[in-house]
Symmetry: C2
């Protein structure tokens, strides 16, 4: 199996964007190509992740992107796995490069939804649940994650203040990220006093709907060495699944797919959770980050909340969680998020993260799931 590397990374700002889905995808892709210092013609395939292309009247986005990059003859495809699309697309690209099918590929994630309004977006996002049992029965994602939050607070005697601390931390990180959607310092009281969305979750417990695109160049180690010294090794890749519905699971306070994906990624990398210096995890709601950090093995079950209280997940803690600001502050353009996490890791491990650099970091992890964790991918990266 070929060793696989990230050679370059690019991203648009996340937020409310005016340009078309095609344009933002190309902007991120050109950024990644320039960052990698390669000629577009060296790219052999394009992996695009996107969920609601219909929102901007453009599905089959791959050939449009490849044509605009001047490489229409190269094959491309779109991958969808709800909010986990970006990491799943990255995984497919990884598998193809690892197997030797391609030397260098473009992985671009993208989403454009804010122009459609909250009602359209909420409705369409609910199609990512098992719609017959969840979305169609009125269980929106805020509602489903609120159920998880209520179960967690009850089981582990945690409080709404604890959840709020996750939001405060991630907004603090996001303030240092020029591409973040919500760059705004907030307090625990701001979170507690914001409108109730689905109790116990308030508005500031929820990530925003965002537009945005992120892209990376993934390549063989041989290709990377020929082009740059500024690349990052992908040392672990894992995937897993969970019962599609929350009601189909044994427990409400853990996500099985995260555990399966993490186990596979740690095994491939030959390391354990203790070796991770920082992680970008899927914090679509504050409760999710706490559950993630336990399922990923950073903290014992029920201890994730204590870790937040003690600041152990902050930039200067034991393990920085979501230095980018996470989905909560950086934003969540659903098809782009998983690729955007890799952009952050690339920048962290190649000295490009500026003010938000995690000191002495050598190994970073990305964790991205779809829906309430029905699909998940985890990747582990190491600096050269």
């Amino acid at each position: 199996m070929e060793k696989v590397c990230v050679l370059g990374a690019g991203s648009t700002k996340y937020g409310k964007l005016e340009d078309s889905i095609t344009d933002i995808t190309i902007q991120a892709s050109v950024g990644a190509i320039e960052s990698a210092g390669i000629d577009p013609k060296e790219i052999q395939a394009g992996y695009i992740s996107n969920v609601f292309g219909v929102a901007d009247k453009q599905v089959h986005l791959g050939p449009v992107v490849m044509s605009n990059l001047g490489i229409p003859e190269k094959p491309s495809l779109s991958i969808e796995s709800a909010c986990g699309s970006g990491s799943v697309s990255f995984r497919e690209a990884f598998a193809n490069v690892a197997a030797g099918f391609y030397d260098a590929v473009l992985v671009a994630g993208t989403e454009k939804v804010t122009h459609t309004g909250t009602e359209w977006t909420t409705t369409y996002f609910s199609y990512c649940s098992d719609f017959f049992y969840e979305g169609g029965a009125g269980a929106s994602f805020p509602g489903l994650f609120a159920s998880m939050a209520r179960a967690y607070l009850t089981e582990f005697k945690a409080t709404e203040e604890d959840l709020a601390r996750v939001a405060v931390k991630n907004h603090e990180n996001g303030l240092l990220n020029p591409k973040a959607h919500l760059r705004k310092k907030i307090t625990v009281d701001d979170v507690l006093n914001s409108a109730v969305v689905a109790s116990p979750l308030k508005l500031y417990d929820c990530c925003p709907f965002s537009d945005g695109a992120s892209a990376v160049i993934l390549c063989s180690e041989k290709f990377a060495k020929e082009h740059s010294k500024n690349y990052v090794n992908v040392i672990g890749s894992g995937r897993g699944g969970s019962p599609a519905t929350l009601q189909g699971r044994d427990h409400m306070t853990t996500i099985p797919s995260t555990k399966l994906a993490a186990q596979a990624a740690y095994k491939m990398a030959g390391i354990t959770a203790k070796d991770i210096d920082f992680a970008e995890v899927h914090d679509c709601f504050t409760i999710a980050e706490i559950v993630d950090t336990e399922d990923l093995g950073f903290f014992e079950k029920g201890q994730g909340v204590q870790a937040v209280r003690e600041g152990r997940t902050s930039m200067k803690g034991d393990i920085a969680i979501n230095p980018s600001g996470g989905l909560k502050s950086k934003g969540h353009p659903i098809g782009a998020t998983g690729v955007g996490q890799v952009v952050e890791v690339f920048e962290q491990l190649t000295g490009k993260a500026g003010e938000r650099t995690v000191q002495d970091a050598k190994i970073g992890l990305t964790h991205n799931f779809g829906a309430t964790g029905a699909s998940c991918a985890v990747h582990i990266f190491q600096s050269v």
Copy 2:
């Protein structure tokens, strides 16, 4: 690289179906699992192809399917490449099994659109073009293929009767396929007298909008040998791209991605077009089949039309084209079509094609593209 085999295949009827997209996908998947004679728990991943899940309010279909099959822990994803989604999904599954990431995977293609009506379907399908330049400018797919047809008729002095003969042949084949959408014998006059959709294409030159799902089990040769004697070897796999817009191409009477994908597949298989006994090709419109058979190397440029006149592509001709009835008669549930072609090849090469068996066939080819051929995949199969 591991040798890859098709171990089982299943399909719903194509046409106007009442069941949900989830249900039809499971029906096809269960059919493939039973045909393969395996336990669902032996499946290690699910590759789902689907374009307009929004039509039936269910995207992120993978976990829903895996959960219903009793294997929620297994990873899954959805792949979209417009009308070529099925073959592109098959290609990704092939790459993962060939690389040794999985021993056995489910590949299921599915689409459910007829309940939305012609206006919705036509509008949404146009999002598969480069919408800024084509769909949004009024160039629908019938219009785009009509432009190709007009160019072909002019360049090669072919006639509308020639196009009609493709429809007549494919309807004849489809009559023998119990799962075909349009099982109806037609004449050249029927085609010529049907309503003009986009001159020179008439209604009977166009494939129908269909619902349907098809699935196959793809596995390593070792896994296949342990489970059955009734499997088929995948000996070639190729992909290619074309400029996304028709106006961006040098010629209107050839599809570059077909040529690239075919070259790659023939090279991997170590054979030439002459070795192919029969082929399932992308005949979304009658003109497409003629262009396909030339681009695939079965006939010289401009000679495809003469081959149809002489019956060389009929069931008893030199090379049977679309023994299943093709998109024209069997139907075109866009996410399923590419997988459905593999189902047909599996049945042909394992003695399950009944009345429509291509005599003495050992090697079959599938060809499936997206939009006007912006993305394409070609696969070659050999009997054991």
